[in-house]
């Protein structure tokens, strides 16, 4: 065990993957000698050479187009998009190409080796273009897997799983936690399952569902509720596509109440999908309406970021309303 922050855990996972398999190749803007603007790829070029860890020109559609071709050739590319806010020039390559490569060729060709890493999320005074949570654009795309870790331990295990997964994975890294989240991480190679949620805390009164950086906020709200005698069950989805309906439904059968929280705007957010599915599965068990605590339906603000974000107090209020319904 070593105490690591999330960046160190990600760097460690990349190091293990590159040491194990010479087909693993890391690239993106500033990824080479500098090790990425957040330093997730530090020292990888030094260790594995310029051919396997390098800078690309500043062109996201090119990075992912290149990555798709490289993966089709049989390599295992780990492409970095510097901020999730800048992933949109690559949207066509991801949605029309990455996601459909296997299907459209009848499995003659695939880009299953591809992992796209990108930092997402707010709370870092990043304003409109360094704060977005674009997960819902991609969860609407069959053929992709979408994975979000909540802490360093999860980041290492899920990233190693993503790199070795036979399908392309979009790996969203909560950048607010890059240095803020610190924890014990095993030095050895390990994987955590993609597609399985984790019950972080058990409780009988209400189910709280989230992912990524929002888990910290949700846990804080659960502590406040605990002080009021409300026992929350906290679930980290970890993987949004595919997502673990069974674990969430099991919990709601027990609690009869649920809140889903994410930073992204309310309308069309992934919470809507979870709510629709759970009401279908658990209709007769529900004690109160399922609610969502999310960002506003606006672009991400700057100065009023704190007001915009679905923080622990907003979630705590939603818990009280649900329990007192």
């Amino acid at each position: 065990m070593t105490t690591m922050n999330m960046l160190q855990a990600i760097n460690n996972a990349l190091d293990i993957a590159m040491a194990e398999n010479e087909k693993v190749i890391c690239f993106g803007e500033d990824v080479g000698v500098f090790g990425g603007v957040f330093r997730a790829t530090s020292h990888l070029q030094e260790k594995y050479g310029k051919a396997r860890c390098f800078n690309t020109p500043l062109v996201e559609q090119g990075i992912i187009g290149f990555a798709n071709g490289l993966a089709a050739q049989g390599a295992v590319p780990v492409a970095e998009i510097q901020f999730a806010d800048y992933i949109f020039p690559a949207f066509d390559q991801i949605v029309n190409e990455t996601a459909k490569f296997r299907y459209r060729s009848g499995d003659l060709f695939n880009v299953g080796g591809l992992t796209i890493r990108t930092p997402y999320g707010g709370g870092i005074s990043g304003g409109l273009y360094h704060s977005q949570s674009p997960e819902a654009y991609f969860t609407h795309t069959p053929g992709l897997k979408v994975v979000v870790p909540r802490n360093p331990y999860q980041a290492k295990g899920l990233l190693l799983a993503a790199i070795r997964d036979p399908d392309p994975v979009l790996f969203l890294e909560p950048k607010r936690l890059y240095r803020a989240a610190v924890g014990d991480v095993p030095d050895d190679d390990y994987q955590l399952p993609i597609g399985e949620a984790e019950v972080v805390k058990e409780g009988n009164d209400i189910t709280l569902v989230g992912w990524g950086a929002q888990m910290e906020v949700i846990s804080k709200a659960a502590e406040l509720a605990d002080e009021q005698g409300i026992a929350c069950e906290v679930i980290d989805l970890r993987s949004l596509l595919p997502w673990d309906v069974d674990t969430v439904a099991e919990s709601v059968f027990k609690t009869g109440r649920m809140i889903v929280s994410h930073e992204a705007p309310l309308t069309g957010g992934f919470a809507g999908e979870i709510v629709a599915t759970i009401q279908e599965r658990c209709f007769l068990y529900l004690e109160s309406p399922i609610t969502r605590v999310t960002g506003l339906d606006t672009p991400f603000p700057l100065v009023l970021e704190k007001e915009y974000l679905p923080d622990h107090l907003k979630i705590f209020e939603a818990i009280r309303e649900s329990v007192n319904f």
């Binding site: 187009g65 071709g69 050739q73 190409e97 459209r104 003659l108 695939n110 053929g143 036979p166």
Partner: protein
Amino acid sequence: MMTQYVHQPSFMTGDEFSIETFCLLNPDGELYEGAKEPPLTREHARKLYQAMLATRILDERMMAAQRQGRLSFYMQCTGEEAAVVGATAALDDADMIMAQYREQGALMYRGFSIDEFMNQLFGNELDYGKGRQMPIHYGSRKLHYMTISSPLATQIPQATGYAYGQKLAGEGHCTLTFFGEGAASEGDFHAALNMASVHQVPVIFFCRNNGYAISTPATEQFAADGIAPRAFGYHMHVIRVDGNDALAVFEATRQARQIAVEQNQPVLIEAMSYRLAAHSSSDDPSGYRAKSEEEAWRVKDPLLRMQRWMAKKGWWSDEEEASQQETLRREVLETMKRAEKRPPPPLESLISDVYADVTPALQRQLDQLKRHIRRYPDAYPRGAQSLDLTLSSADDRQGEA
């Protein structure tokens, strides 16, 4: 590069450079004066020409079939056979080809059978793509021909990435990607060329400049002298070639391949040609171009030119031409009859290959669909074909929550 300083402002447009067009054969199939025949054996030349001819005949027959309502959609390569087949013939058969959509000639050259073409066109149970894509979206792993994707230009940066993998693998292969002069306006084109130059990748960017992007003429696609000058901006080797001259295309691509594979350098080839047919079966060129323009290009037919050259060399005869045409037409018709009778892909193919393994959620969706089709089989004749309707709907509830 050393910066040279001047003290009077001067602006440039690119007109300072002019790019010549490489050609070997005139329209009568004679070598131009001073032109040197490429290293092409009799057998190789015959294989090249026969693929051009087979492509022409497949296209004619299938367009006719589309007009008869037997096929939903079709796209012809007519007029551009020399560009496509000439380039393919200059590659190693294990080099990857990432085409746009009009390059069936490349597959023909590499030995894709008429059955294989037909199965894709009719989307039947034998189609490698499992009936998922519109006609002409062929793919073949064994022939190193990447499955076609409708979005334009997406294959160009993919070719850069694929070739980068080939370079690391060190087996001496390259990738050639085809695209039109219209697709070269997409951002993906520029991303691909820049990255290929920066990362020194063995890739050949082959632009078929056929004058039109559906109805938009090249003059409304770009202001510069075609696509070729763009290579300068990326410090890339470039050649412009007469796309209706199979020999010139062969030789340009052969030398481009040497640069790509031996020096790990990308090359841009701009082949000047003309789309003699409509963009697709859904298009009617009479709405945007004159018949006289088409007639002027018919005179430059790439098949006639190659045929005449081969006849002069004693490598091809009128009799062979007639009998080959007859054989090919018959084969296409017979194969078509077989292919259109084959059943569609099974219902299960709706959910396979989305992921490496079918997810439980997808299995549930399919089971639900099966129950529905059993209830209304007449409304879904294709799907019902692969279902055993005598089973009760309880039989495929596996996977249900």
